[in-house]
């Protein structure tokens, strides 16, 4: 996935993209991790309808389609604290509805 600025401005679709985050939990120090996550632009529309709720919405977001669970060991954990931290790594990303069963769905 080419991440040059010009390409990102015009890109339409959903792709695996590198993502860096700080893995941490209470009782351990944080560990900076670079992994594969998802980013993109997916089809979205809203149209007026005559009956409640008066707006019909169709929103698709770029999210994980296939993942691999990765486990790392966090540094300097307090005694009795499980030092292992598991996170999902994206193998494939696709446009789809945001599933509230597995996903924290936030809109801005």
């Amino acid at each position: 996935f080419n991440t040059s600025k010009g390409d990102l401005r015009r890109f339409v679709g959903c792709a695996v993209r590198e993502f860096t985050f700080l893995a941490k939990k209470p009782g351990c120090k944080g560990l900076r991790i670079t992994t594969d996550a998802c980013w993109g632009r997916c089809e979205t529309w809203e149209k007026p309808i005559l009956d409640p709720p008066y707006i019909e919405a169709h929103h698709r977001v770029c999210t994980y389609n296939e993942t691999k669970q990765v486990t790392v060991k966090l540094p300097s954990c307090a005694p009795g604290v499980d030092p292992f931290y598991t996170y999902p790594m994206a193998i494939r990303c696709d446009c789809g509805a945001c599933s509230t069963a597995t996903t924290e769905c936030e809109s801005v």
Partner: protein
């Protein structure tokens, strides 16, 4: 799909809406309204530990999205709808049908109908 298809952003797109005077559809007509059509800029990544804990360790993914939504609606009048049944309405005295469907306002190529930006405009 309009001419904007394939271009990131959030646009007005004309659609035909069948409007009616009442729930029974005593009078009906067609009106051109606008939908907001575009692309939802979004990302998904591993959830923070606090999010995981708050969800009972169910939400291991966080999705943040900025979708194309209707930011403002305008009520418009639509007069002179065709009558579906002769004599329908108040004792058959119906002479003209009128109703106010809700139409959205989001950006377009000028004109008085364009009053604001759509929510979540991207690109």
């Amino acid at each position: 799909q309009g001419p904007e298809a394939g271009v990131p952003g959030c646009y007005l797109h004309p659609i035909n809406v069948t409007v009616r005077s009442d729930r029974q559809g005593t009078c009906r007509g067609s009106h051109v309204a606008h939908a907001c059509v575009g692309y939802c800029e979004s990302s998904a990544f591993p959830s923070r530990h606090s999010v995981l804990a708050a969800s009972g360790f169910q939400h291991n993914i966080t999705s943040v999205s900025q979708c194309c939504t209707i930011s403002r609606l305008q009520k418009v009048g639509s007069a002179g709808l065709g009558r579906r049944r002769a004599g329908a309405g108040a004792g058959g005295r119906l002479r003209r049908c009128q109703l106010r469907p809700a139409l959205p306002l989001c950006p377009g190529e000028g004109g008085t109908a364009v009053l604001g930006q759509p929510a979540g405009a991207a690109g």
